[in-house]
Amino acid sequence: MATVVSVQNLRKRYRRRDPWAVDGVTFELEAGQAFGLLGPNGAGKTSVVKMIAGLLRPDSGTISLFGSDPGNPAARAELGLAPEDPDFPKFLRAPEVLDYFASLLGLDDEERKRRIPETLAFAGLESERRQVRQFSKGMKQRLGIAQAILGRPKLLILDEPTADLDPIGRRDVRALIERLKESGVAILLNSHLLSEVERVCDNVAILARGSVLKEGTMSEVVPEGSNLEEVFVQLIEANQPQRDHMPSFISERQ
């Protein structure tokens, strides 16, 4: 199978005095594969995703996106990114946002007329007439997923795609991931919903403080009789200082 993304020894920090946000991350993703990128808050998952999408420059290491540097616009032609906390030009309406992005993707009029209404219907935004600034977080997240699939990408990056969605929206996203996987699209999923990741991903990497703690196929990472959540909690707790989970004023008897 063709390699879609190859990340080699990636390092990134935002300021010189800061610790590394991403420290030596290496993995590959092939067509038709779903890869789960997991980690606690601040582990560096979003930084990795943004570097793959050409939004952040790595300090060292290499990224190959469809064989090119992600900074090259042509390399991003077959990339769909649904960012965490998505936002859009706030005075536009949902169909205008999709038309804008369809123009950036170079879709012709005929394709736009076909894809935009269908994508809006999938996202449940077909009858929405308000401007983006009046959208709820969930609606923005739906629009974020809609714009990510609009270009029929060969790599779909979903950064916390279901964080603000209702159960129906989550079910739709899960079905979307499964359908895209079947059609050969590579999926990079960054989520805290470990049951979801366990259900749809073939490979998984667990990050903490910018480094990969464990990586492999789902069966390699999750032993028989266990589940991903257990493995994740054990691994993270073993690699970070223990802390008191409850504030003392909560633990105290009344």
């Binding site: 943004k50 999408a53 050409g54 939004l55 952040l56 420059r57 616009p73 042509a74 390399a75 991003r76 032609a77 990339l79 990114l81 960012p83 906390d85 998505p86 936002d87 859009f88 030009p89 706030k90 005075f91 536009l92 205008e96 804008y100 992005f101 123009s103 950036l104 993707l105 170079g106 401007q131 974020g144 714009q147 270009g151």
Partner: protein, 293 residues
């Protein structure tokens, strides 16, 4: 260039929905109507009383009408400058800043569009937006001028070009700064740079050039500084207006007052303006290119 066109088209659509620009435009439009209409009403009131003109007064109705027109055009020039600057700040503070700060840039830059095309699209939309809004105010002003005798139409056109050209420079300064910092701070910094620092340098340079400041060191220093700041373009309209005012008041044309009015910008100033625009547009691109989102 499809990417630049798309960015430009949708930025213009966004600008057309921005309430602050609409408010500036409405205030400007109503102000021009009130100014022209008010002066015309003043004329009607004055001319309705036969004692105001003719033998009892040394001012006839036609001269008074002409005086009011000059007054209107003079105020109009100031109003256009102020509103062009407000609109330049309004567009400059938001056209790129909102995309970068809201997170919209994450979705935009993950698409196959280069930062260069994005910058070109944003700059084209910002300049077009400014020209359209100030142009509409100028068209309205031109229509109001029909209420008066006419004859100053070319002065209005020249002044409009100078005002728009100067506002474009201000807008580019705000755009480039707002890509680095908070847009309110960017507007304040641009105001200080363009209106205070540049203003002081230009004034001292003019005084030194005119021989008012005799110190050679000061003259040399400000000669250098003058070529480090944008030069405001000046049309011949201000001088034409002053000349017309002198004529109407019966003064001689080579009046000393004319000497204090800056002469119209020449080819060197226009070339410097082009250079300044390119430099600031380049800074906007550099800032957008470096920006990590």
């Amino acid at each position: 260039m499809n990417g630049a066109l798309a960015v430009s088209r949708y930025t213009l659509l966004e600008l057309s929905r921005r309430r602050v620009l609409l408010v500036f435009f409405i205030i400007g439009a109503l102000g021009i109507i009130a100014l022209g209409g008010g002066l015309k009403i003043l004329y009607q009131v004055a001319s309705s009383n036969p004692n105001n003109f003719g033998n009892a007064s040394n001012v006839d109705a036609a001269t008074f009408d002409r005086f009011l027109e000059l007054l209107f055009v003079s105020y109009l020039f100031q109003a256009l400058s102020v509103f062009a600057l407000l609109i330049a700040f309004g567009i400059g503070m938001t056209a790129i800043y909102h995309d970068l700060e809201s997170g919209a840039a994450v979705s935009i830059f993950s698409k196959p569009v280069s930062r260069f095309a994005f910058t070109i699209g944003k700059l084209a939309a910002a300049v077009a937006g400014l020209i359209v809004i100030v142009g509409l105010l100028a068209v309205e002003a031109r229509l109001i001028m029909f209420l008066f005798g006419g004859g100053l139409e070319s002065a209005l056109t020249g002044q409009l070009l100078a005002v728009v050209a100067n506002a474009i420079v201000v807008m580019l300064i705000v755009l480039s700064l707002s890509t680095w910092m908070n847009n309110i701070l960017a507007a304040i910094a641009a105001f200080i740079y363009y209106n205070v620092i540049t203003g002081v340098i230009s004034t001292i340079h003019m005084l030194a050039d005119g021989g008012v400041i005799g110190n050679n060191v000061v003259r040399d220093v400000f000669d250098v500084l003058y070529w480090l700041v944008p030069h405001q373009l000046v049309s011949s309209a201000v001088r034409d207006l002053a000349q017309a005012e002198i004529q109407i008041s019966g003064g001689v044309e080579n009046n000393q007052a004319l000497a204090t009015i800056p002469s119209p910008s020449g080819a060197g100033d226009i070339a410097w303006w082009v250079f300044t625009v390119l430099v600031f547009a380049g800074l906007v691109y550099y800032a957008v290119r470096r920006r990590q989102v």
